[in-house]
Amino acid sequence: MTRIIISAFLLFLLNTPLAAQTFMGESGTAEFTSKVPLHTFTGSSDFLIGQVNLVENTVDFYIDLTTLKTGNKKRDKDMLITLETKEYPFAEFFGNIQTEFDASNPAKQPVKVAGEFKIHGVTRKIEVDGTMQVTPEGLNIQAEWQLNIKDYNIVPPKLLVVKVDEVQDIKINAVLAPVNN
């Protein structure tokens, strides 16, 4: 009987991920750069929420789109109407790390993640290149990719507005703290 209990306990431990291999943060930065004729503007938010599990190799990020600010209230309002944030408040990504990552190496390491990105109610599979680095503060993640708003059925307003470029440059930067179970 004792052997059974010990065996079960060991199985318990084997299935429980190590605490320091799960990271989470709620104040990452997401930034997009948008181009219109003769003008480029940037919107950003400090409310990017993320979680990375190095045991299961999962990456999960989301942001409440209403927290994005471009420095112009009228433009912000147009953006939220265009993104239909009342119906689709989040942009979110959930995927897996595709490349090797050595958590014991403090150097910045390139990583590729693949998964599903969802915005405006449309989900598409994407691959994103970025870097991850274990620092004393946690796991620092940086990534950049391009988003074609047409792929997500996002139609910018046309009335009296110069049309926005379909391709938006997206950047994220987050420091995720280690999570203790």
């Binding site: 009987m1 059974i4 065996s7 079960a8 199985l11 318990f12 084997l14 299935n15 429980t16 991920p17 799960t22 989470m24 503007f41 409310f47 929420i49 979680q51 599990n53 299961e56 999962t58 999960d60 989301y62 409440d64 209403t66 927290t67 471009t70 420095g71 112009n72 209230k73 009228k74 433009r75 309002k77 147009d78 109407i81 408040p89 989040f90 979110e92 959930f94 307003p157 009335l159 009296l160 507005v161 999570v179 179970n181």
Partner: protein, 291 residues
């Protein structure tokens, strides 16, 4: 046999249940709730004639053009006032910070130049910790029409306190107690030989309300009763506006009694009565640029 069954039981429990005790692979999505100021109590920095509590963000420039035409009651003869002499004001307002803006403007009537400021001292917060907006506003205007007056005689002023609240996404209200002063006033006789006397100082209360009808259209009402002594033969100004917001622009199409454009002139010079049909059409166009 029993031991083996127990082992399998613990094995299955371990495989199936234990991982769910860990942090879920995908986090539940939760809306952010930044405790910042509420969005746009009014869409534009002006209601119709009144300065609205809405602030200009830092480095934002609001270019605004305002027209008021003649009264509608002249009918088709002057195309409901459109043929009459229009007062026109061009204005620029700039957000120095998120809580302080300054502006200048020039009106056609009396070739009037004005300079203004607005200081947003308190912002209503989304989390309810501050329930009201509080702002201070003021302007100084100088008429430059050739009439032989000294510079000091050409000046007029307005100072006001703006209190406002956005009750919901649809309903906003604002009150603006204000004090106006003209350095020079006149006493004259009208065509009926009645004495018409002006006074230097007038106190008035600007009241404004907004109902958002659709995502892009709102109905505004603005009423500016004079409190206490007033200029002879003047009436309280009343305006009704439809605000249309179209990406960076706010168009305000309004019906009003006053053809003047700065608050002190609206308070001191309006001689038309909305309920008597002395209504004129006008419009404001606001375009906000980020610098």
């Amino acid at each position: 046999m029993v031991r083996r069954l127990l082992f399998y039981f613990f094995f299955v429990v371990s495989i199936i249940i234990v991982p769910t005790l860990d942090l879920a692979a995908q986090m539940p999505r939760q809306r952010a709730n930044p405790s910042g100021p509420v969005d746009e109590v009014f869409w534009a920095p002006r209601v119709v004639h009144l300065t609205s509590v809405t602030n200009l963000e830092k480095n934002n420039l609001d270019f605004n053009i305002k027209h008021t035409f003649g009264v509608l009651t002249n009918g088709v003869e002057d195309l409901f006032g459109l043929d009459a002499a229009a007062n026109i004001r061009f204005g620029l307002d700039y957000g120095i910070t998120d809580w302080l803006s300054v502006g200048v403007g020039r009106s056609r009537f009396d070739k009037l130049y004005d300079g203004r400021f607005k200081l947003n001292a308190l912002r209503q917060k989304k989390d309810g910790s501050i329930p009201l907006e509080l702002a201070f506003t003021g302007n100084a205007a100088i008429l430059t029409v050739k009439n032989g007056y000294e510079v000091a005689d050409r000046l007029s002023y307005m100072g006001g306190v703006i209190l406002a609240r956005k009750f919901s996404d649809r309903i906003s209200l604002q009150v603006t107690p204000m004090f106006t002063h003209f350095n020079t006033v006149t006493i004259e006789r009208d065509i009926n030989d009645q004495v018409v006397e002006e006074i230097n100082d007038i106190v008035a209360l600007g009241i404004a309300g907004r109902v958002v009808l659709t995502e892009r259209v709102a109905l505004l009402v603005e009423y500016i009763p004079v409190l206490g002594d007033r200029n002879d033969q003047t009436e309280d100004a009343l305006s009704v506006s439809f605000d249309i917001e179209t990406g960076g622009h706010v168009f305000q199409l309004f019906f009003t009694t006053s053809q003047s454009m700065t608050e002190q002139h609206v308070v001191a010079r309006n001689r038309d009565d909305f309920l008597n049909g002395d209504i004129r059409f006008g419009f404001n166009v606001h375009r906000v640029f980020s610098l």
